[in-house]
Structures are given as structure tokens and as C-alpha cells.
């Protein structure tokens, strides 16, 4: 069966056509073709071909197998640096995007913050399967949350503001903001119901104070920490320790 699938694929049939031809589930066709490609890759020991997902035709949930090979290779830890990308002329270029999920906000001024982010193919495809629409068709949006003196993870915010973003946006200068305020920024999609669904979020960030405050909201936490009344400071740290495997237990 596997040989048959590979043979038909090499004759140029789509996976869907092969599934119809052989009267087997498309998952089985996909799987067989993928596996064969994987074996080929290992034999040839060539670097995985990077493919831009933006240019891919995503008619259905059937994705091309090249990307799957790349991901599978990545898990096998034989890979290239994510910063290695070649332009059309074969020279190195800065990658347009990275296949990771992150968001980072940095202070520009007491009234403005720069936020940049990335969303992985894995998450994009999962959302496409969830909402049965291509990633590119899901409307993108950005949310500003004022979480001053609140725990972001509680889901509460003092106020929030959501606005739509153009497609293919991966950074934003957020302004105007208020000084001396704790913000969290989120990138996400607007669902059919109009609800904002966050995909990546920044760490909480304090905008700087822009004027004297007398005794403000930090005075008491500073005092408690100074006199050892708490085990760890109740203050935001803009340089948290990062772990590559932070989710692995």
C-alpha cells in the first residue's frame, strides 16, 4: 500500500486524489507519504527545506509534506539555526519571521511602548483547524490591558482597549499610554462572535513615572522588601530569567 501511495504521489496526484483512488482515509495517505519523505531526508542527510507558510496554498487542511518534514527533523535535533535564511540569490538574509511564539514589550517613553511578537505555524494551524478558516482569513487584533495592582492571570483588568491590526503585522508602537501604569499587551484574533482571543501576551510592564509621586504605590512594597517582611519583592522585574524548556517538568 505504501509503495502504491508513493508511486501515485510521484506521478503528480494530490493526496486527496490518491485517497480517492485507493479508497483509503486521507490521513493514511498523508502519513505514508510523510514517512517516505522522512526516510528520504535521512538517507540524503540534507538540511530541511524551509518553507514560508504565507506563500503556501492552504485550500484545505491537507498541508504539503515539506513542512512536516522540517518539523519532524527539528524534533530529531538535526537542524539549522533559525537565524539562517537565504534570500532568492542564495545569500544570507535576516529572517522575515521566526517559527516561535513570543511577545515582548519594551519601554519607549512614559507614554509609549514598543511591542514585537511572533506566532508559530503550529498555533496558526491549530487555530485554522479550530475555526475551519485559514490563518490569513482570521481577523487580527491587539489588546492593551491595564493591570496596575492586579494579577494578569486572574483575568481581571482595570480597563482594556482592543483594536484591529492589519494582516502580517508583527510589531506595534503602542501610544498613547499612561505613565506609571502596569500594562499587558496581547496579540490575537477576533472570533466570529467578535470576542478577542489572545494568542501571545507580553509580560506585565510598568511605564516609567514622568513626574514626582511623593509616596506612591511602590513605596510600601519597597519598604516591605527592604525590611525583609516578604520573601521576594512585590515589584516587577523587566529582566526575568528565561528557560528554553520552561514548560517541561
Amino acid at each position: 500500500m505504501e509503495e502504491k501511495i508513493v508511486s501515485l504521489k510521484q506521478q503528480g496526484l494530490t493526496l486527496k486524489q490518491i485517497a480517492a483512488e485507493l479508497d483509503v482515509p486521507i490521513g493514511k495517505v498523508q502519513y505514508a507519504w510523510r514517512k517516505w519523505r522522512n526516510q528520504q531526508q535521512e538517507v540524503e542527510a540534507v538540511a530541511p527545506v524551509k518553507q514560508k507558510r504565507e506563500t503556501k496554498k492552504a485550500k484545505t487542511s491537507v498541508t504539503t509534506s515539506r513542512k512536516q518534514v522540517a518539523s519532524a527533523k527539528e524534533t530529531a535535533n538535526v537542524s539549522t539555526s533559525p537565524l539562517l535564511e537565504k534570500g532568492p540569490e542564495g545569500y544570507w538574509k535576516l529572517p522575515d519571521r521566526y517559527n516561535v511564539d513570543f511577545m515582548h514589550a519594551v519601554v519607549q517613553s512614559p507614554n509609549s511602548v514598543y511591542v514585537c511578537w511572533e506566532v508559530s505555524d503550529l498555533v496558526k494551524e491549530t487555530l485554522a483547524l479550530q475555526f475551519m478558516r485559514r490563518w490569513e482569513e482570521l481577523p487580527k487584533a491587539f489588546r492593551i490591558l491595564d493591570v496596575t495592582l492586579l494579577d494578569y492571570n486572574s483575568g481581571h483588568a482595570n480597563r482594556s482597549y482592543t483594536f484591529d491590526l492589519p494582516e502580517m503585522t508583527n510589531s506595534w508602537f503602542v501610544r498613547p499610554l499612561d505613565p506609571n501604569t502596569t500594562y499587558v499587551f496581547e496579540f490575537g484574533i477576533r472570533t466570529m462572535e467578535g470576542e478577542f482571543l489572545p494568542i501571545v501576551a507580553s509580560n506585565p510592564l510598568d511605564t516609567p513615572r514622568a513626574e514626582p509621586v511623593g509616596v506612591g504605590r511602590f513605596a510600601e512594597p519597597v519598604r516591605r522588601w527592604q525590611y525583609g517582611e516578604v520573601d521576594s519583592p512585590e515589584l516587577l522585574d523587566t529582566l526575568p530569567k528565561y528557560a528554553a524548556y520552561r514548560l517541561v517538568r
Partner: protein
């Protein structure tokens, strides 16, 4: 002595602009700094020969370039060229004023050469000697002047700090307790790292203290402690402004030398050509023949005696200003009033030609006036008990006081790549640390490439758009080298030659300066070293597992997973987070991850399900780098999107258990949610190897609603593995 103190801090920094090939214009930045700033400042220290209590900060790129034989030799050649040009000028028929200035320059350039050769061409020796003699104190800066508030990880900030201190210690034989934060940029948390790395004081701009919380009782009249105990010395803008401002300060006086009028632009090309760039580029010679004159384009010739006269006047004026300022705050005690004046060293001499002489004269005047100059280190020794602890928010000494110079529309494109390098370094250190001598050296070289890329100078130059192309190219080059070396590391291609080539491109820092562990996270150490290595595992996604058993599904999941675990399989169970249960639990062969959705409190069911699925795939993305999964098994419709995507991206077979279906639960259902669930359910029949359905479900009936194919079975008895033996075996790695 009068009450109160004055503290002068000079920060010498240039980006690392050493290039093997000759005639790079940027290398002239080093020559100019040596000629106009470093040597003239050293002359003043040597002239006064007593403890001046100046603090000189010298950044690692400057230290390394001063110690570099290539730059040292080229600088001597540069001095010879200058002396030749001066001789040529003197042979021409110039005015008396010009001739007098040229004689002044001739003597000065001879002195530069003598001093430079006296210190064996290495000015680090000079600074070190004067520091050891007690004339000056010294501190350093982070490795490449990276802008701390915009770094992504603690590790990057720590590496910059630790590497900078290591480099400085190698050249200067001691580890300073103070540091110059690049751009005086403070951000909450950097003080914790500084403290842990042995740093007890640094410098900030005055609004850092004026806007601190609580507002410091002494204003900017005393340093404060940051929450983690690092003393922050504030720049006094009024006093500093007298010195740095070309508008309100001394440097704008008409008798001082004009910076923007260079001899190179006043001579015919044929005449000056042999002293210019071989490709025909005209650049400043450093011979500036005019004085500021006034607010006019008609500049008069420089008269050295007039300038010297002004230096005396201004030094006296400064001492008087400082005296009255200190007297006005004379009542302050515990600690006494302190004026801190930190500057870019290159302001003195390079921008303000007469600056170094002014500083020397000020030192003399202050001694005469009985004003005590103090180093921050000595101030802390005396008054460490008297400082208030406050919260300081992010701020810098840059334009408008915050981050605008280093993040704006002209330079923001760099940031994500820097973040990516940081993340990669953390991962690479976790994965490759101590694997071999070669991988350790490769990791150090990767850190070297990163720190060279993260230098705040590139963002600064792109902001100013002066030599923007150079800055952008340097950033790209270091990123490319990082990418190429990292790829070699991944593909086991690190060789002696490769490491040599990468180092030789920019021979900045010794390997001993770079500590791989500055990028290590203890958690990653646990994951990569201590956590047991497992055989390949089954990945299960289920909306219910333990403690959440509502109906048949929960029971079936538990029974099936336990049956597989009893068979000796390792099972990873991913299930939604539940308040009373731990986020992670291990039961023999079963690992249970209770996963928090990416966002709590969404209103609509489908959206809640989506945030749960996003959280699953993010977790598995990481897990799959440490655990090899051979099969994925999901329960119920809610986990279908994540399970399908993971099966595809991991290239492993997908198995489904559907104890009920939307259409069987709700045969008359309709509407948006019903349709959406139905479509998701329908997708498993084509995506899964096998779909197991509840015993009470008639497969025949199911065909009314779903595209059921022959891969559908009723659930197997628990003792039978639901996974095809074929695929299980083949996928075992």
C-alpha cells in the same frame, strides 16, 4: 574643607570597530578618541600627580582596542601622517595665526607620540598605572554597551555585565564594585543582576531620582539605593549642563576651537589627497584652525592663548558656581550634599577641544576653594548607612530621558533578531554545555557574536542616521555569523578552523572572559541533565482526567491510560488545568500536565476550547524536543484541532476516541456552535488512523451525520492496545 562633595565621572566608550583590512573610516574614531581625549586626559592626571578622585569608566571595546597591536601600530602611522601634514602646512605660506596654531599642533602631536610610545602603545597601562598610584579610580561598562531595558532575558543582561567585568579585570588586575550602565539606562531588575555580580553602585540621570517612589528626601543631593541595594548616583543636570551644553555651557565660547571646521575641507583636493582615504573620500584631519567666533559662518582663526585664558576663567567660574551650589545645600547632613557629574569622556577633547585642560584646571581651583572631590566608592565607604531605598522606574540619559533613541521606527527592526539570539543562546547552552571542548568554544563564540550585535551603538547610529549603513551592516554581519556558527554546532560541523575564522573576524574578548553559564537556566539544567531520559511515549489529549470525572468519558480515559501504563508504556496526559489539582503530577509511567488555557474567562465555548488547544500545542512543541512521541491519542471533540495539528507536525499517527458525538447527543441540534462542533468532529475521520466510538453508538447511524470510513471501530477492550502494532513499532526510535 567646605561641606559637601563633588564627584566627576568620565565614561570612555566606542563600539568595537577593529577591522583587519586597512582604511576603514570607522577605525579613525579610535584615533580621534586617543588623540583628542584619552591622551589629553592622561596628560592632566600626569601633570597634577595627586589623587584627583576622578572616576574613569572605560568600556570593554575601548579596553580591547587600546590593547590591540594592530590598532596600536596603525595609530602610530596615523600620528606620523599627521606630523607630515603639519610639516607640509608649515612649508606653505600661511598667515601668522595659522602658523602659530600649526606650531602648537606640531608640538602637541610630538607629545602624543612620545606619550603613546612611553606606555608601549597601550594606554591601558597608563590608566592602570595612575589608578594603582591612587590618582584616579576606575570602573567599566557592560561587554558591548547593550541597552539593558530592551533585552529579553536576564541571561543576556548578566552575560553583558559579567563578561564586561571579566574583560576589564584581565587588563586592569582588579574587579570594580561600580559599573557604568550603558546610556545610564536603568530598568527594574537590572539592579538585582548587578548586585549578584558584585556591583554596588552605578549612575543614572537626575529624573531617575526626582521621579522615584517614594520621592527621595534629599532629592538629587545624595544617591539612593535601588530595591536590590545598588547605589544610584544621579547626574546633576544644572552643574553638568555648565560643562556639556554648547548653548548654555562653557564649550560654546567664541574663543574655543570650532569642531565643525576642519582643514581637510579648506584645502584643494590635489593638495590634501595623499592624506585622505585612498578611495577619494574626504574626512576630518583633526587639524581645526578656527575658533567658534560666534553665531556666524565666518570663522576666525584659532588663537591658542585666548583659549587658554578662557580655560582659566571657566575653571574659576565653575568652582565658584559649585561653591555657591554646595553652600546653598550646606545644611544637608547624613549624608552631606553631593554633586555627581557623569560625562561621556569623548566630550572632553573630541567635542570640546579644551575640555581636558579645563578639567585639570578645575581640579586645581576646587583644591584652592576647599571643595572636596570624592569618588562614589569613597562616598559609599563613608556614608553607606545614610542612603534611602526607593523604587526607580525605567529611564536613561538619552533624548527625552527614556528609550526613544534606542527604539524607534529607524531601528526597531533589529530587536526581534536580538531576542531570538538570546532565546537560542539559552537553549544552546542547555543542550550543548560541556559536551566537548569544541562545543564549549563554539558556545563562547556564539555569545561573542551576540554581544557584538547587541551593542547599543548600532541602534544609536541608526537613530542619528550618520553612518547608518555601517551600523546596519555590522548588525547583519554579527547575526549572520551567529546563524552560521549555530548551524555548524547543530550539524556537528564545528572545527578548529571554523572557530578560528569566526574569532578572527572580530577578535574581541578572550574566551576566558566569556562564561557560558551566564546563559544557563537552572530549570534547563534540570531538564537536560537531571531529568531522566525516557523511551518514546504516547501523547494523550483529554478534556477530563482525574478529579474531573463527570461521566463515562472520564472513566474510560483513566482506565485506558492506566492499562497502557501497565503494559509498560510511558504516557503523557495533557488535560485542562483544574483549580484543586497540581499543574504537574507523575504517577509511575504516567505524566499528567494540567494545562492552563492561554487566556482565562473567554465567553464563548469554541473560543475557550481554542485557548486550551493553543496551550496544548505550545507545551507539546517544547516537550517534543525532550520526549519522542510515537503516537497521539485524543479523547472527545474539544482536543481535535490540537491533536490533528500535532500529529501532522510531529509526523506521528493520530488515534481518536469519541464516546459521543454532537449529533448523537443532540440529534435535533442546529445553529452555529452545533455546526462548528460537527465540522470539527467530522474532520477526525479523515485525519485519524482509527476512530474508536462508544459502545452505545451505532456506526451505521453515525453515517447519517458524518463522513465515516472504514477506520471506525467500537472501543476495544481495555487490555487491547488501540494503536496498530505496525505503527507503534515503526515509530519507536
Amino acid at each position: 574643607m567646605k561641606p559637601g562633595y563633588f564627584s566627576l565621572v568620565l565614561h570612555a566608550h566606542l563600539p568595537y570597530v577593529r577591522h583587519e583590512e586597512k582604511h576603514r573610516l570607522e577605525e579613525r574614531w579610535v584615533y580621534e578618541a586617543i588623540s583628542e581625549t584619552y591622551l589629553p586626559i592622561l596628560w592632566q592626571v600626569d601633570r597634577l600627580k595627586r589623587p584627583l578622585h576622578w572616576t574613569v569608566s572605560i568600556s570593554p571595546p575601548v579596553v580591547e582596542m587600546l590593547a590591540d597591536p594592530l590598532i596600536q601600530d596603525r595609530y602610530v602611522e596615523h600620528l606620523d601622517d599627521m606630523l607630515e601634514l603639519i610639516a607640509l602646512e608649515l612649508s606653505e605660506d600661511r598667515t601668522d595665526e595659522e602658523t602659530a596654531t600649526l606650531h602648537f599642533y606640531r608640538q602637541r602631536y610630538h607629545e602624543k607620540k612620545n606619550t603613546f610610545l612611553h606606555w608601549n602603545k597601550n594606554l591601558n597601562e597608563a590608566f592602570r598605572t595612575y589608578r594603582e598610584a591612587g590618582y584616579i579610580d576606575m570602573v567599566t561598562c557592560t561587554a558591548t554597551h547593550g541597552f539593558n531595558p530592551h533585552l529579553f532575558t536576564e541571561q543576556a543582561a548578566r552575560a553583558e555585565i559579567r563578561t564586561g567585568l571579566n574583560c576589564f579585570e584581565r587588563h586592569y588586575g582588579f574587579r570594580p564594585t561600580g559599573i557604568w550602565l550603558p546610556e545610564c539606562a536603568y530598568t527594574p531588575g537590572v539592579d538585582r543582576i548587578l548586585y549578584e555580580e558584585g556591583i554596588r553602585y552605578t549612575f543614572v540621570d537626575e529624573h531617575a531620582l526626582l521621579d522615584a517612589d517614594p520621592t527621595p528626601e534629599k532629592g538629587i543631593g545624595a544617591p539612593v539605593y535601588s530595591p536590590h541595594g545598588v547605589a544610584l548616583f544621579p547626574r546633576d543636570q544644572i552643574i553638568s549642563g555648565k560643562i556639556w551644553s554648547s548653548m548654555i555651557g562653557y564649550p560654546g565660547h567664541p574663543d574655543y576651537r570650532e569642531f565643525y571646521r576642519d582643514l581637510a575641507y579648506d584645502r584643494d583636493w590635489d593638495y590634501i589627497q595623499s592624506f585622505m582615504h585612498p578611495e577619494g573620500i574626504r574626512f576630518d584631519t583633526g587639524l581645526k584652525m578656527h575658533r567658534i567666533t560666534g553665531d556666524t559662518d565666518q570663522k576666525d582663526f584659532y588663537v591658542r592663548e585666548w583659549a587658554e585664558h578662557q580655560i582659566e576663567n571657566h575653571a574659576t567660574d565653575f568652582a565658584k558656581t559649585l561653591e555657591s551650589h554646595l553652600e546653598a545645600h550646606g545644611a544637608q547632613t547624613f549624608p552631606p550634599f553631593l554633586v555627581t557629574a557623569p560625562f561621556d569622556a569623548e566630550l572632553f577633547g573630541h567635542w570640546w577641544f579644551e575640555g581636558p585642560e579645563f578639567l585639570g584646571k578645575v581640579a586645581e581651583r576646587l583644591a584652592e576653594f576647599g571643595i572636596e572631590t570624592i569618588t562614589p566608592a569613597l562616598f559609599l565607604e563613608r556614608h553607606f548607612k545614610d542612603l534611602q531605598t526607593v523604587h526607580v522606574s525605567m529611564n536613561t540619559w538619552g533624548r527625552k530621558g527614556y528609550g526613544e533613541v534606542w527604539i524607534n521606527e529607524r531601528n526597531e527592526w533589529m530587536l526581534r533578531h536580538l531576542h531570538m539570539m538570546e532565546m537560542q543562546l539559552v537553549k544552546d547552552v542547555a543542550d550543548y554545555r560541556n559536551q566537548s571542548e569544541a562545543t564549549n568554544r563554539a558556545l563562547k563564540q556564539l555569545i561573542r557574536h551576540y554581544v557584538l550585535a547587541v551593542s547599543s551603538d548600532w541602534a544609536f547610529i541608526l537613530d542619528g542616521q550618520t553612518t547608518a549603513q555601517y551600523a546596519a551592516e555590522r548588525f547583519r554581519e554579527h547575526t549572520r555569523l551567529f546563524a552560521e556558527l549555530e548551524t555548524a554546532l547543530y550539524q556537528d560541523g564545528v572545527s578548529e578552523q571554523l572557530l578560528h575564522d569566526h574569532y578572527a573576524a572580530y577578535p574581541f574578548l578572550q574566551d576566558e572572559d566569556i562564561d557560558i553559564d551566564s546563559f544557563l537556566s537552572p530549570h534547563d539544567y534540570y531538564v537536560t541533565i537531571e531529568r531522566e531520559k525516557k523511551k518514546s511515549a504516547i501523547l494523550v489529549l483529554t478534556p477530563e482526567y482525574h478529579g474531573h470525572i463527570v461521566g463515562g468519558l472520564g472513566r474510560r480515559v483513566v482506565d485506558e491510560i492506566e492499562a497502557r501504563a501497565d503494559d509498560g508504556e510511558v504516557v503523557y496526559v495533557l488535560t485542562p488545568y483544574h483549580n484543586e489539582l497540581p499543574e504537574y503530577e507523575r504517577q509511575g509511567n504516567i505524566h499528567v500536565y494540567r494545562v492552563r488555557p492561554t487566556s482565562p474567562f473567554l465567553e464563548h465555548v469554541m473560543n475557550q476550547v481554542a485557548t486550551q488547544n493553543i496551550a496544548y500545542v505550545k507545551l507539546v512543541h517544547e516537550l517534543s524536543k525532550r520526549v519522542s512521541f510515537k503516537v497521539i491519542h485524543h479523547f472527545d471533540w474539544m482536543t481535535i484541532p490540537a491533536a490533528r495539528e500535532l500529529a501532522q507536525s510531529l509526523a506521528i499517527p493520530l488515534y481518536s476516541t469519541m464516546l459521543s458525538f454532537e449529533a448523537t447527543r443532540n440529534p435535533h441540534g442546529h445553529g452555529g456552535l452545533f455546526d462548528a462542533i460537527h465540522r470539527i468532529e467530522n474532520s477526525v475521520f479523515s485525519a485519524s488512523e482509527r476512530v474508536y466510538v462508544g459502545e452505545e453508538i451505532s456506526i451505521h447511524d453515525l453515517k447519517q451525520w458524518y463522513n465515516v470510513s472504514e477506520n471506525v471501530n467500537t472501543c476495544l477492550p481495555l487490555e487491547t492496545s488501540p494503536y496498530g502494532q505496525e505503527s507503534m513499532k515503526k515509530n519507536v526510535k
